[in-house]
């Protein structure tokens, strides 16, 4: 007898709740009124937009991922993603502020003690403090388990030595979650532990901030740790649990990147559509030409498909689906590729105007690329999905 298809955990036909719709609309209004006017300047100056961070904090948007008992709003994964999507539609950098706040705090949510949550969450929820997630190293990107940063136990402390690279908001964060090797001889996925490093601190240095293709307002930092002492009380979970914490974190944080990608795609689609309506050539509006109309149609259908997959993935992950990794990887894979395709086509629709910074689509195209790279490259996402399909080989 044929197997029943997918093991969907979520019950009932899928639709957004009234609260989610209200929330989405509230963030959208804010994004249109206050974020969109700043987007071009943020990209041009490549400065971290403190005013946007304050805006998100003031409107309780940064409180979304945190539990209510610590000053958060207790939002589900889908709720957080709705907010990231609406913000990213206007400005990918601003959307990332919320996404990174969620990414960085997930290790604490998943593995932190009640005392640790009570200590760190309130200021993160209020937006007074920012948190970053430091896993990647110069020699450990896709192969994150090959990290070399070490954390040696010394009395009540750990001493961390090493470096991290490509850390989003690493230079503006107040807390940095650092993954370091505590047992070099342990099996591959048990070598790492996770630590929350409160900065500034002796031995912690931001050695570099990258000049990037896109999301230029989001500082991507190289961090150096030299005999950096952190209390053992700031370790998350048990020694050796670091790899597992990181992977479980990414399962829940990848959808936020997918949300960023969907937002970017939607923003580009809207600009291209408006242009196709207004621009006249050969005596008619260009949107009525089949080649342009077809492109817009594919952009719209693609964005909607990515969006629906994202929403479904969020609901499944929150419902505790056993194949959460597959959902997470799929939505990020599809959304990232869609954003790249839609923004590239948006530039194409605008023709020469799409290439100059008078229109935002060239920025959106540059912004979109990162969604195919960070929080696991598209190739890693495919690996995860294939493994889920085929079952673990070993």
């Amino acid at each position: 007898m044929a197997q029943v298809t997918s093991a969907s955990r979520a019950q009932g036909p899928f639709r957004l709740t009234d609260e989610q719709e209200m929330l989405r609309d509230a963030v959208r209004v804010l994004a249109d009124d206050r974020v969109a006017p700043r987007a071009a300047e943020i990209d041009r100056t490549a400065e971290f937009p403190e005013d946007m961070r304050r805006l998100l904090a003031d409107h309780d948007i940064l409180a979304l991922p945190f539990p209510t008992e610590h000053g958060g709003l207790g939002g589900e994964l889908l709720t957080v993603c709705l907010a990231v999507e609406q913000l990213s539609r206007a400005c990918a950098t601003t959307g990332l502020i919320l996404a990174v706040q969620e990414l960085g705090s997930l290790p604490i949510t998943l593995a932190g003690s009640d005392e640790q949550k009570a200590r760190w969450f309130p200021k993160l929820a209020s937006g007074e403090q920012l948190i970053a997630f430091a896993l990647t190293e110069p020699e450990a990107g896709s192969d994150a388990a090959a990290a070399r940063t070490t954390a040696m136990r010394d009395g009540d402390d750990y001493v961390i030595d090493g470096s991290k690279r490509f850390i989003s908001q690493g230079s503006v964060a107040d807390l940095v979650v650092v993954f370091a090797v505590t047992d070099a001889d342990a099996p591959r996925h048990q070598r790492l532990s996770a630590f929350v490093v409160e900065v500034p601190r002796d031995g912690f240095e931001v050695t570099r901030v990258e000049h990037k293709m896109g999301i230029r307002g989001s500082p991507t930092a190289e961090l150096a740790f030299t005999k950096l002492r952190v209390p053992a009380a700031d370790r998350l979970g048990e020694e050796g649990e670091g790899w597992s914490i990181a992977m479980r974190t990414l399962d829940r944080s990848r959808p936020a990147i997918a949300a960023q990608a969907v937002g970017i795609a939607q923003g580009a689609l809207e600009v291209a559509t408006a242009y196709a309506r207004d621009r006249q050539q050969f005596g008619q509006r260009i949107g009525d030409f089949q080649q342009v109309g077809a492109m817009l149609a594919d952009m719209d259908a693609g964005t909607e498909a990515a969006r629906q997959l994202l929403y479904k993935a969020c609901v499944e992950i929150d419902a505790g689906a056993p194949d959460a990794s597959r959902w997470s990887a799929m939505c990020k894979l599809v959304a990232g590729d869609t954003a790249m395709r839609v923004t590239t086509d948006a530039v194409q629709v605008l023709g020469g105007y799409g290439y100059i910074d008078e229109f935002p689509v060239e920025r959106m195209m540059r912004d979109a690329k990162i969604t195919q790279l960070y929080e696991g490259t598209q190739q890693i996402q495919r690996l995860v999905i294939a493994r889920s399909l085929l079952g673990k080989g070993d």
Partner: protein, 263 residues
Amino acid sequence: MRIVVLTKPVPDPASGGERLGPDGRLDRSNSPAVVNGNDEYVLEKALKLIEAAGEGEVILLTMAPDNGPETMRKALAMGATRGVLVTDPAIAGSDTVATTRIIAAALQTLSFDLVFAGVDTSDGVAGVVAPGVAALTGMPYLSYAASIDPDEGARTVRVKRITADGYDVLEAPMPALISGTQALGEPRYPSLKGIMAARSKEITTLTLADLGIDPGTVGLGGALTKVVDSRPPAARGATKVVRDAPDEAARQIVELLAERRLI
């Protein structure tokens, strides 16, 4: 201070999907419902009053055949304390007389200092329910408020009522029923905190049986008025687009005015 705010779910005026079903009632499946625009102004005023007092409750009272809770959520997200929803399939198709009776009966189950209502609703635009409820409950009725100033100590309330010449300042003891207008001030957009908090706010449901109202006397069957026909509005003629220079355009305007004997 406890303020009851009457709110009505109406078809979203921006949606354009309103139409009547075969029985002459609004086909609610075709248009999303929102809180009536005028109700938002009085709700905002109620919220401001209890915020200024530092204590109090704003209770929403809605009568709806089915989709009350959704529209109540937004009003709860704005900051209302809780909601009371009178819902019963027999309510569908109720006229203003039945609506007035039902709301008056629901108010008898609550204790309050003030009742606020919007002056009219964007769907039927009748504007007769609020005074009717005042008459049935025997409360002082102060209408078309541009400002509302309660004096909790003296248990009175003052209202600036909009008239043709300006304003009449009215005063009455509490409890009183006040209908208000846009002049009361712009309603707040629900904050994220408010939106998330709304889900745990209480909505009490009342049926006609709870109110002791015979279903046969309300709804379509009990109505004292009935719709006998409906049609879309007559189409206006084509629009003449004038792109000429101002002087020539002005001449064309005057020509049209003269043609239609307006000057």
